[in-house]
Subunit: 591 residues, 2 copies
Amino acid sequence: MTDRTHVCGELNEAHIDEEVRLQGWVRRRRDLGELIFLDIRDRSGYVQTVFNAEISREAHRAAEDVRNEFVVEVRGVVRKRDEENVNEKIATGKIEVVAEELTILNKAKALPFQIEDDVEITEDVRLKHRYLDLRRPYMTDTMYLRHRTTKLIRDILDEQRFMEVETPILTKSTPEGARDYLVPSRVHEGSFYALPQSPQLFKQLLMVSGFERYYQIARCFRDEDLRADRQPEFTQVDIEASFMGKEDLLAMMEEMMARIVKEVKGAEIERPFPRLTYYEAMERFGSDKPDLRFGMELVDVSEIVKDSGFKVFASTVERGDVVKGINIKGVAGRYSRKDLDDLSSFAEIYGAKGLAWVKVEDGGTLKGPIAKFFDEAKAAELVKAFDAEADDVLMFVADKQRVAWDVLGNLRNKFAKELDLIDSGEFNFLWITEFPLLSYDEDSGRYVAEHHPFTRPVEEDIPKLTEAPEEVRAEAYDLVFNGYELGGGSQRIFERDLQENMFRALGFSDEEAVSQFGFLLDAFEYGTPPHGGIALGLDRLVMILAERTNLRDTIAFPKTASASDLMTNAPDTVSDEQLQELKLKVTAKKE
Amino acid sequence: MTDRTHVCGELNEAHIDEEVRLQGWVRRRRDLGELIFLDIRDRSGYVQTVFNAEISREAHRAAEDVRNEFVVEVRGVVRKRDEENVNEKIATGKIEVVAEELTILNKAKALPFQIEDDVEITEDVRLKHRYLDLRRPYMTDTMYLRHRTTKLIRDILDEQRFMEVETPILTKSTPEGARDYLVPSRVHEGSFYALPQSPQLFKQLLMVSGFERYYQIARCFRDEDLRADRQPEFTQVDIEASFMGKEDLLAMMEEMMARIVKEVKGAEIERPFPRLTYYEAMERFGSDKPDLRFGMELVDVSEIVKDSGFKVFASTVERGDVVKGINIKGVAGRYSRKDLDDLSSFAEIYGAKGLAWVKVEDGGTLKGPIAKFFDEAKAAELVKAFDAEADDVLMFVADKQRVAWDVLGNLRNKFAKELDLIDSGEFNFLWITEFPLLSYDEDSGRYVAEHHPFTRPVEEDIPKLTEAPEEVRAEAYDLVFNGYELGGGSQRIFERDLQENMFRALGFSDEEAVSQFGFLLDAFEYGTPPHGGIALGLDRLVMILAERTNLRDTIAFPKTASASDLMTNAPDTVSDEQLQELKLKVTAKKE
């Protein structure tokens, strides 16, 4: 096979009268008898070729046999299209190739779906024939966007003297965090490797090594029950730096995001990014990953309603809980009483016992089931607190602070989507800071790390680590992009004694800490520099940039919600010999 | 902590009188009483700081407490060193920093070994404290060389419009090739994922998708008994292209190698690289990865010796085997009769029954145990065939062709090393082509693929696939660098029927082929373009460029020969709960 002379999508008027040899797929075929038109497609785009029996009978005859998605080679000459046939919509629309020779390189049988963006197919069919699904323009484009984004991240980090280091995939199982994928060892019978949930320990050890600036586009693994936006293996942009303060790190990440958005979306974004403390984000938006492209902030009305006639509200405040609400602007006419009452079941998902609402009418009058409990003065106070006007709907949750946050935060997102309040052309980044270091886990009856056990406490809170662990704030920062948590980072503990205190706060005995993390504790005693870092979800970044909502669309060969690969049929049973070599027995019953 | 103002290694005369704040490790400490000198090191290099009690008593006192490898911050002023104290050997040797303030950021206890290149330590100690081993200059340099090499490869492939695509790590076990690492599935009880030995199938499927040019710096896994130059996980530069002929691919790879050698070693290499067919390489050098930086070619003397008086040689030729030899120049005086006789045990490793030798004396006389079997005419013929002169030693193997190749190929390398014939400043690349497609495996009693089952046969040999499989040549090419196999590639089969024939030649039933590779066979029917690709061992490339012989020195956190990580102690036992969740039982006896 001779090489092609040109790629399809780049042919234009400059090539007129040139002889070209193209190789690609038949995108579309139109047979007008004496004339057959084949659109030939390759990765660069497509071009129209014309087979005229008067020019080459043989080529015309060959063109009669081809079908969509055949792989062909076409030799011919570029010519200008007649004025009436010019297609301004495509790059090659002013020319066509008059074909003199056609070679079929490979045939294609009827496809399970068309190679077009707008086809109705189930995701299972797409995943089973992923190699065809990826042939569709928007999937190819998304993979190319992923490539460009990754390349840009590497270039920026390289400029900043970060060094890419590969860390092991076969590593050790640790009890913290999510469930590990295990890999049985054949050499060490009865022992297992674990696939890494992140390169956290290795990147910190590279700081001990004095590498100062490390990065890796790292594959990570979690054996969790999958939700729509989770995958058993995912990719993270993993960064760690020594002698680099939090401000420098955050500024660098902001520059990275700005350059990516500029390059990929052609848009400018403002820097520095806004910052909210965790508490402020929860209080104002009911979320630690708020989407700031719309308002609808939470309002605390506990003070107003505590002495109102509505006993449910008053008693909530009395027992130390809160009454909070949001104002959904200009929708009183749109939602019926039943619509609004039905939202209670939405509230229950997030743990609330119910949801109260009032509509605001002309002159600030309240209307609705609980309106009667508020006298004119209280009503005016509420209207003022919510900055409300006629046709607004106020929704209230009276509950524990966390429940109020959750319900209203989710309600806020729900209405923003329903009312189309979000400008999809806007790119909104912000940082969330001052997370709690620990939270109390009712199930296990102990404190767990909100980020991970290596996160540094805020300096002034360190003394509280033993006495009041829940009050300790972390030197941690999450990056939020359009309402998604894009990633998070922190300054790290780098002193053995502080790390030991942290493990104790997490309920580790000293023996457990040494048995699991002894090598890290040891390393901290050999001259470990102050360091910190961040990790971003690459799949999610690409998903947002590609304006998609399905994480699987950003991964070439993803797995289903049950962690299966429908194309290769993985996981699968293995031979008895393989299990015997590993000294393993499957105790599951055969189906 | 305030950020540093400068990095240590870049301070020079331009900074004289500037106030600087440095952060790094104490590389060396010299205490002269009133003056204390601390060399401060960071990734960029190191600089001398001086603590003078008369300038700052407090800083001087603090300097009394520091020890090697403490992490410190030093504030001070750069000044010119006195003429007699200038150190031309280091970049910062003309200046020093007069310290005004010292802060200890972290202490270091006594290290298990010094942070220097030339320390005597066992590899086990290095691996256990890998974070300290990596702190040694040559290890840091090697990791940086790896980073630069990787970055350059990505840049070159990006320029050539290759697209990086990540393929799965959790995939399906296939019976071909080496032993798979398995990962039990929790969701699908009794089923397993396998870690990929290479992304071969996925990259071919991306060609079916029309991606045209794919690459990945891919982690691969093989559960094999390890040799010195193998690791359970390794990294390969994985490349695949459609509509790109072999010549274009090879030329691109040659350019890539030239740019890497230029960038990393500052050397020019000649292109195009020489090519040898597999047969020629074996005949001339006894190896399919010959080092061409020295000669000592194999000479076939079967024709000369077949009617000589030496029955061992004559009968070997008679039964269809060969007598081949090499000429080791100018060493007759260096090796005793016993030295040369002892080489027989070396020959036996490679399957020979023995090794014969003669020394060449003045006037072309032969001397040695078998010299008497050759009359003057035969002796002259041998001397001519080997282009021999006085003081040369000729070594012979009379055996099957493959044994003769193996013994003499290895003997050639052994003597090159022993006699120091290799110029380590030379970089020798070549291609080996026309490998056999299949070889007969005595153990399993069937043919196995020399490269892999997806390698394309040479077009004219395709008809022999059924009748004479061992005669079929592959469209495959190996890249050899300084006598190491750096990688290999091939054009691929892209037609279902040819792929099915290949599986049959490998002894697969049609059912087995479909059950294991059905998705690939299916994919081939939907318009698969002609394609080919290559994979290079990144670890090995870095090893050669870094002029090392231990593959582990190129990997940040490698495993030992028994596939253990001595630092984290992986693999390790896991909890019963973990095994129960996976429905697995370990049948190995506890130690």
